[in-house]
Each structure stands twice: as structure tokens, then as C-alpha cells.
């Protein structure tokens, strides 16, 4: 009984190793300089792997949420009552602040200033997978080019900056977080607008801190506990997004700049849902229609 014309070629493993090493070296050098390979490979594998990741993440979060619910019902009921009170208080505060905001916008328009920290249009996304190693902090979200995500869009969670988009697939995207060792964000202190560079650092990860450097601290106005937001001179990050709070600050040995550690505003260990700001730095248009409608309202209110 002979198998029909099936010739089996056996390659000794040494030669296979050598061949595949050559293939790897070529792919490495080509993909280091260009990105011919990244698009088709990413699309193909993303097509297979991301649905599973979405499914498993969904099931996992569902199960862990149900488990937590059972444990914390009593505490949640108390917290609910307290929060309802707080919401009422905040609503009244919010109303009075809204009125002041209308007035501020009007005055700004009179001086012809653009809105400093406009409301950015955001789209929600879920985190479906993280980096498989322990050295980097990138994650995959479940929105892609079909949902309007583009390269370099900023990603927020809650009220703080989480990272930016580095690769966009058809229905998934890769985001690098600001605590990753390679990430650098141009930032400024909210109170004094002194600029600095905020970099992620793997060595301080266990304390939950990231570092900042190159702050020119005029009159030592920046101190511990100050809020740090993204600066207006960054070419990838939109201005005014909260990054974190200073936890320690000391002068450098050159006596010109200050550096220290920053506590990020976002809890990076528990990110599940993020907001992607639509419109990157190069193409964000100030929403002038918003200011027009606001000014119309104040006129009618008066």
C-alpha cells in the first residue's frame, strides 16, 4: 500500500534553524526601517485574535463584577445614599459654575482668546488585551479605523491621561500608556504653567510613580501636590488633560532645572474602559458653534 505520490522532504533541524534565522534577520531589518510587514500581518492576526480577546475579557469582567457585587452589597447601599446627597450638592455647585463659565467665555471672546480647555469630543472603548510581557505597558482597545480612530489620538480614563494610540487596525488599536518606559509627555503645572517632561519609568512602577524632569521652577512656585496637565507646546497631546500630582520635587545638580516624581491620576492597574479623544493635535478645531449658542443663551437669560 503506497501513498499516492507523496514525497516527504526532511530538512535537518540545523539547516532549518539557519534558514529561519536568516528569515528573522531579514524581517527584523526590513520592519525596523519600513513598515511593509506590519499592516497585512497585523490585520490578519488581529482578525483572528482580537475577537477571542474581546470574548474572554467580557466574560472575565462579567464574572469578577458579579463576584464583587455579592461581597459588597451592604457597603454599596450606604455609599449610594451618601453619593446621592453629594450629587445634589454638586448639581447646585455646577449650575452656579456654568453661569460663571458663560460669562468667562463671553469675556474671552471680547478679548479674542481661544477657549483654553475646550470640551473634547470623545469616544468610549474597552481594553481587551494587555501586553503579554512585564516590561512594557501597551494595551489593545476594541475600536479601530472603522470607528474613526486615527494615529496619535489621546486616550483618557476617568479624568486623567492614559496614553496615545500608536497603531490603528480595522476594529482594534494599540495604545501606549504614559507609564511605559518609552513614553514621554510634555506637561505643565496647572497653577504656574511651567513646563516639564513627564516620562514613564519601570523602576518606580512598584511605587506607582512616574518621573518628571526639566522643570524650570521660577520662584519655587511649583511644590508637592500640584496638579500637572498636558502642556500646550506638546505636538502629540492635546492641552489641558490631567496627568497627575507631584509627589516629590528636588533641584537638579545643574541648579537650573528641577525633577522629581509624579503620582498619576489614573489607576493603571484597573483600567477597563477608556475614552479616546477624537481629533488629534494637528486637526482639532475649536468648537465655535458651542460658544455661539452659549452667548445666545446668556443674552436670552438676561
Amino acid at each position: 500500500m503506497r501513498k499516492r505520490g507523496f514525497i516527504r522532504i526532511t530538512i535537518p533541524s540545523k539547516y532549518l534553524l539557519l534558514m529561519l534565522t536568516l528569515v528573522c534577520a531579514i524581517v527584523l531589518s526590513v520592519s525596523f526601517t519600513t513598515d511593509i510587514f506590519s499592516k497585512p500581518l497585523n490585520n490578519f492576526v488581529g482578525f483572528i485574535v482580537t475577537p477571542f480577546q474581546q470574548g474572554v475579557s467580557f466574560v472575565g469582567t462579567y464574572l469578577s463584577d458579579r463576584g464583587e457585587e455579592l461581597v459588597q452589597i451592604k457597603a454599596l447601599l450606604e455609599e449610594n445614599a451618601k453619593l446621592k446627597e453629594q450629587v445634589n450638592q454638586l448639581t447646585t455647585e455646577n449650575n452656579s459654575l456654568q453661569q460663571e463659565k458663560y460669562e468667562l467665555n463671553n469675556l474671552r471672546q471680547l478679548y479674542k482668546l481661544d477657549e483654553q480647555y475646550p470640551d473634547y469630543e470623545k469616544v468610549g472603548a474597552r481594553v481587551i488585551g494587555k501586553d503579554p510581557g512585564n516590561w512594557f505597558h501597551t494595551f489593545v482597545i476594541d475600536k479601530g479605523s472603522e470607528d474613526g480612530i486615527k494615529l496619535d489620538m489621546n486616550v483618557m480614563a476617568g479624568s486623567g491621561l492614559v496614553g496615545r494610540v500608536v497603531y490603528v487596525g480595522p476594529n482594534w488599536s494599540k495604545v501606549i500608556s504614559i507609564i511605559d518606559d518609552k513614553s514621554n509627555v510634555s506637561a505643565m503645572a496647572l497653577s504656574t504653567s511651567d513646563t516639564m517632561i513627564v516620562s514613564g519609568n519601570l523602576e518606580y512602577m512598584k511605587d506607582g510613580m512616574i518621573t518628571f524632569s526639566q522643570l524650570i521652577n521660577t520662584d519655587e512656585n511649583v511644590k508637592e501636590g500640584d496638579k500637572i496637565v498636558t502642556s500646550s507646546i506638546s505636538d502629540k497631546y492635546l492641552p489641558g488633560i490631567l496627568i497627575g500630582y507631584i509627589s516629590s520635587i528636588k533641584p537638579d545638580s545643574n541648579n537650573l532645572t528641577y525633577s522629581g516624581m509624579l503620582l498619576p491620576a489614573v489607576d493603571f492597574a484597573h483600567i477597563e474602559e477608556v475614552l479616546v479623544i477624537i481629533g488629534n493635535k494637528q486637526s482639532t478645531t475649536i468648537t465655535t458653534t458651542q460658544t455661539d449658542s452659549l452667548s445666545k443663551e446668556t443674552v436670552s437669560g438676561n
Partner: protein
């Protein structure tokens, strides 16, 4: 053919598990490296060629979703699979010490390579810090997971071997 499909499923499943379930706070923020266990064990149990092909494919899937140029993880996983395959002669079902030792060595070499090429060359010199905070915990958790994964891989390997014997018997 069936063997290749099953092994491919294993690789994809391990990758998905590593990025989703183990990605959270299950082990205090450190993820055990399931893929290195699979590459190392399959290379050890089935020889050099299987080891290097499994390493190549696992490295490919990790590379595609990673930030760096494609080809880095492919190269290292492939060599780790091949080197583990060199120990195929010492494979005995009952002995668990040698496979665990191989896994520890493979994980350590991989982490050293990542540290050396991506961190040392960028000026981060605090090696002891990375060693105690990232490398040693990862190796410990990986060994823990391997203790559970090893019997499963043994069963799968036994299935493959008995399939081969049956097919070889039919040809006689």
C-alpha cells in the same frame, strides 16, 4: 496536519490567556510567561525541529502585537525552542526537575535579552532593581503555572506519540 493545528491552537490560546486573564491583578501585576512554557516544553518533548517552529510561530504572534520591530521575539523564541530541543534525549515522563530547570533558564535568558536590548541600550542601568522586581517574580510565577501546565502537555504529547505509533503500525 492535525498535530500542527492542535499546536497552533495551543499557541493562540496561551497568548490570549496571557493578555486577558493573567493581564490583571491576579499575580500582583506580574504576568507569568505562558508562551515560554509552551515553547520550552514542546521543544523539550518533541525535539529540535518542533521546538524551533513553535518558537517561530509564538514569536510571530507576540511580535505583531508588540511595539517593537517584527522579528525580535521570533528570533529569541526560536532559539529557545531549539536549545530546549537539544535536551530531548533526556526526556522522561516521570522526571519533572529537568523541565522546570529548562523553563527557569529559558525565561531568564529571554528576560535578560529584553533587558539588555531594550533597556540597557537606552541608558537604564539599574539591573538589580529590574532583577528583583520583575525578573525573579516572573520566573517564580511562570514555574508555578508550568507545574499545572506540564501534566496537560504530557497528555497531549502522549496522544501524539500513540497516534504516530498507530499510523506507523498501519503501514506494515
Amino acid at each position: 496536519m492535525k498535530r500542527s493545528a492542535i499546536i497552533l491552537c495551543f499557541i493562540i490560546f496561551a497568548y490570549i490567556l496571557q493578555t486577558t486573564v493573567f493581564g490583571g491583578e491576579l499575580f500582583g501585576g506580574i504576568k507569568p510567561n505562558l508562551l515560554i512554557v509552551i515553547v520550552s516544553m514542546l521543544g523539550f518533548m518533541r525535539g529540535r525541529k518542533t521546538g524551533l517552529v513553535v518558537g517561530f510561530l509564538s514569536g510571530l504572534i507576540v511580535d505583531i502585537f508588540s511595539m517593537e520591530a517584527i522579528g525580535f521575539y521570533m528570533l529569541f523564541f526560536m532559539y529557545i525552542g531549539f536549545l530546549n530541543g537539544l535536551f530531548h534525549r533526556h526526556f522522561f515522563r516521570e522526571n519533572i526537575k529537568l523541565p522546570l530547570l529548562l523553563i527557569i533558564a529559558s525565561d531568564f535568558i529571554l528576560n535578560l535579552a529584553i533587558f539588555g536590548l531594550f533597556f540597557l541600550l537606552r541608558g537604564r542601568f539599574g539591573f538589580v532593581n529590574y532583577l528583583t522586581n520583575i525578573m525573579i517574580p516572573e520566573i517564580c510565577y511562570t514555574v508555578l503555572v508550568a507545574l499545572f501546565l506540564y501534566p496537560l502537555l504530557l497528555i497531549v504529547n502522549h496522544q501524539f506519540d500513540s497516534d504516530e505509533k498507530r499510523r506507523a503500525g498501519k503501514l506494515v
